[in-house]
Symmetry: C2
Subunit: 272 residues, 2 copies
């Protein structure tokens, strides 16, 4: 039995204003200091709808040595909390839609979004590694970002790698994710924390309104806490993260061991 | 544009009474003669909760030459309808939870359930081939049975094999399937027809109540028609099955081509 408090910090980032966004993150992490795991939205230190790649590059920063990684590490130590923050990553000439994870004791990890939404593929490179699972004091935390929800392979790889909790920074505009994450939790027997942003950005020829409704789900898809559509919200739930290790859904059925991997070869690009 | 009528025939089978169940199937297929695809529930010619393997064996029949395959073929020719019926299959010494598909013109196919529910694994062998897709006058029809819904790999394999419509005979007792099938339709961009049974069986030390609520879903998860919890119901929807070939969910996002199969190798049992 490992009681842990896991949750999200939903807010509306100020486009291009890292200082203000870091202040919001710092404030909400302080209010959520009782959390063992606190997840912030995708790209919440920069905003989302970049006019072009140059604008994105001007707001991107390195993993580890950059200001957002340093902030996350500082907050993890100050509050004894595992922190996940979405940010634009600069790595040499490449730009990634990434999230950093820091945990008390010095753990530092990064994930680069695999499944890019809409115009993101014009300015971001996609990740080149499977989504990772990090062993933290809050449990084994798997990372995925926003549209990864639509591809069942992402959450499945996390579950097969041992994730107990999926941390899911998001900037959602499509309406289906929150319900689909119920399916992700049920089919994988994992907790999930979707941290979405709020607000509207009208910086290009399109206007994007983000749908809030961040949520924490239990291992059988039950809604533990969720946020309004359009207001800042800190949502925390106390859970026994080890429940995610119980994959038996009947006396005879195990969510992962009942799989037939040899018959799924088509999923990894092989002939069936 | 290929307008087709697809649907389900929800009813409560009489346990062990193939003659009565065949009559029900014949009557509902007649009432649903306007359908291009009509899906009947899992094991609907036998009932579900067998006392033991001997009882199951006494109700099982061969694929192709057995009475249910012959009935399906007859109904396909009589009504110009692709028919899917769940039945217990006997093949040599092995018993399978199977469904037969027949289409006008002589097409005959079979699927043996991969993911067995609860005590089924005590009396049935599991299928040893990926779920198949059959080209029929009603479109490209993929087959899966009941608990296969819980394993995203099943519907994904069908979509990657070209399925436009998933035919999904079921005997559901868990409550999550109908909503999870919305996710399956959305993530794969396919139509789905879940044909569930109704009624209660109390033949062993357990009582099973089946949840009805059969449904037809569109390629974006929209509910086209559904059934009550506990009444016989024929549900038909007219659809353009070729919509399932449109996998673009934004101008830049393709549900299947945006996948990264090399990064999903863990799903087919390989090291990542």
């Amino acid at each position: 039995m490992k009681k842990r408090t896991i949750g999200y910090a939903q807010f509306g980032p100020a486009f291009g204003d890292r200082t203000t966004n870091h202040e919001t993150i710092r404030r909400m992490a302080g209010n959520g200091a009782s959390a063992d795991l606190l997840v912030f939205p995708e790209l919440c230190v920069s905003g989302y709808d970049f006019r072009d790649r140059d604008e994105l590059a001007s707001l991107a920063e390195p993993f580890g040595s950059g200001p957002t990684s340093r902030l996350a590490r500082e907050l993890s130590e100050a509050h004894d909390t595992t922190i996940v923050i979405g940010y634009p990553e600069k790595a040499g000439d490449q730009l990634f839609n990434a999230c950093v994870l820091t945990a008390p004791g010095g753990t530092l990890a990064n994930y680069r979004k695999l499944h890019l939404f809409s115009r993101e593929s014009r300015i971001f490179a996609h990740g080149d590694a499977p989504p990772p699972v990090i062993d933290t004091p809050a449990g084994k935390v798997g990372l995925m970002i926003c549209l990864d929800w639509l591809f069942p392979e992402a959450a499945r790889v996390l579950a097969l790698t041992g994730a107990q909790v999926i941390a899911h920074p998001s900037n959602l505009v499509l309406p289906h994710c929150q319900k689909a994450m119920v399916t992700r939790s049920i089919e994988n027997g994992v907790f999930s924390v979707t941290a979405n942003r709020i607000g509207t950005e009208a910086r290009t020829d399109r206007s994007l309104t983000f749908t809030g409704s961040s949520q924490v789900l239990g291992t059988r898809g039950e809604l533990l806490v969720n946020a309004p559509l359009d207001a800042e919200h800190l949502g925390l739930a106390e859970v026994d993260v080890d429940q995610a290790d119980d994959k038996m859904i009947t006396e005879e059925n195990h969510l992962l061991e009942d799989r037939w991997p040899d018959l799924y070869r088509r999923l990894s690009g092989q002939h069936p």
